[in-house]
């Protein structure tokens, strides 16, 4: 069973690397959205530095949403999802493995790109490690929660937009705790909010690791039968 999950993950990784267009596009989108922020709010470095953690998180969310339709859609279209569902491996495991490889191919590259983009927004260097840690802890929740939306809309033609709309409310707690952890490091002010934010973020991620595959599997069963 674990072997099935591993082979599924390695298959998805190979597909992502050889076909391209997945994580790379998300990172590119991340770069573009971050780059238009100064054009929108003006080149004031102080202002940019203050809003940098929030803007980075928001852009990361959007880049992540953009890739959700890839999660199950292509497998649904070429029929390999049917095969996975009848293969005997528990569907919860399949959904979890797919979400995990989504994180490896989009969440992780986005986190790695974040510090570089932080430079563009004049993010305080001291805040960088905290932001990275918060993003590392938070992005798995994005992939797993996103898997629910992707599974719900898998049979909808061009379900990407709908999936984004469905998933966005579930991303809000991740955004809030992620930003609070990171911006506590920027302002280095009230109380010791950083670790508390990180802990809550970790709790969200752990809960979504457990619950989201169940919901995603139920959604897949509802859609494909």
């Amino acid at each position: 069973m674990i072997r099935a999950a591993f082979s599924l993950i390695s298959r998805d990784l190979k597909l992502a690397i050889r076909l391209g267009g997945g994580g790379g596009m998300a990172v590119f989108f991340f770069l573009v959205t971050v780059a238009i922020v100064p054009l929108g709010v003006g080149p004031d470095l102080n202002l940019l530095g203050r809003i940098a953690p929030g803007m980075l998180w928001v852009s990361l969310l959007l880049s992540n949403l953009l890739t959700l339709d890839r999660l199950f859609q292509s497998d649904y279209e070429d029929g390999s999802l049917d095969f996975l569902m009848t293969s005997g491996a528990p569907l919860v495991l399949v959904a979890g493995a797919k979400a995990f490889s989504h994180w490896l191919t989009t969440g992780l590259p986005l986190v790695i790109a974040a510090p570089l983009l932080g430079l563009l927004l004049n993010l305080a260097p001291g805040a960088m490690p905290m932001l990275m840690i918060a993003m590392l802890i938070g992005t798995p929740a994005l992939s797993f929660l996103g898997a629910i939306g992707a599974a719900l809309t898998v049979s909808v033609r061009r379900g990407g937009l709908l999936a984004s709309l469905l998933v966005m409310p579930f991303y809000i707690p991740v955004l809030i705790f992620g930003v609070s952890a990171a911006s506590a490091a920027v302002t280095a002010a009230p109380g010791d909010q950083g670790p508390r934010g990180l802990m809550l973020l970790g709790a969200l991620t752990l809960a979504s690791l457990v619950l989201a595959p169940v919901a995603a599997a139920a959604a897949l069963r509802a859609n494909v039968e």
């Binding site: 409310p169 809000i172 139920a218």
Partner: protein
């Protein structure tokens, strides 16, 4: 209460029962709301701080309560639909959603109308406002999912999963928003009234809330009836189309 759950699973029996029930329930709702409106507008004193603006509350607070109640009904019905495959449960969940969305919208609009004279602005990113707004987004997403998946059986199951995930998330979202807000502005100035509310105001509020709840039941029954009829029409049309197609082949 008779608790044979599946005795009410028969849509025909539901249609018979609901036809008799809708009119009286709607009438009770009408009487309660009329009484509540009278008490709210004429029968209760203006607030010593808020003046007559406080009367918005008699609509606003029940609407906000109902927005949560509708979501709860929707989630319970969805769970019933997923677990027991009760044929009326997904009809109930689907019918509750637009009503809940309307109540949420009403709560947002009345809150905004109240906020303009009281706070001097239509909208503040207060924790409560924000979480109600997100609840509204959840309703819209649910409705959008129903609207996009064409086949009712698929749509029902997908929407049920979404409603349940949303139900788990509502407290998390609410808690996170409260935390976010207190992080940004520790001293919340915006608090409706005090901890206590005068009996002269409590009575109309409770009457209105009961009236809204009864109205919700009446609307829910009406919408469920309409949905069942809609499905009948759909299956009749499909059967007709199939018959016509079969006839041509033969």
């Amino acid at each position: 209460m008779a608790l044979n759950f599946h005795a009410y699973a028969n849509p025909a029996r539901f249609m018979m029962l609901s036809r008799r029930l809708v009119a009286p329930i709607a009438m009770i709702a009408g009487v309660l709301i009329a009484l509540g409106v009278y008490l709210a507008l004429w029968g209760s004193p203006p607030d010593y701080q808020q003046g007559d603006t406080v009367r918005i509350m008699y609509i606003h607070v029940p609407a906000a309560w109902l927005s949560l109640l509708c979501y709860t009904v929707m989630a319970l019905a969805s769970a019933t639909a997923l677990v027991f495959r009760h044929p009326l449960a997904d009809v109930c969940a689907k019918s509750a959603a637009p009503i809940g969305a309307s109540f949420t919208f009403l709560a947002l609009v009345t809150g905004s109308l109240w906020g303009k004279p009281m706070w001097g602005t239509w909208w503040v990113w207060d924790a409560r406002l924000t979480s109600v707004l997100i609840l509204f987004f959840l309703y819209l997403g649910y409705l959008a999912l129903w609207a996009t998946i064409e086949e009712p059986v698929r749509a029902a199951r997908a929407a049920a999963v979404l409603a349940l995930v949303g139900f788990v998330n509502v407290p998390i979202i609410h808690y996170s928003v409260v935390w976010w807000n207190t992080l940004h502005q520790p001293a919340s100035v915006f608090r409706i009234g005090g901890p206590t509310i005068a009996p002269s105001m409590l009575a109309p509020l409770l009457i209105m809330a009961t009236g809204f709840t009864v109205m919700f039941v009446a609307l829910l029954l009406l919408r469920m009836r309409a949905e069942i009829l809609r499905r009948r029409v759909r299956s009749l049309r499909l059967a007709q189309a199939g018959f016509a197609g079969g006839g041509r082949e033969a």
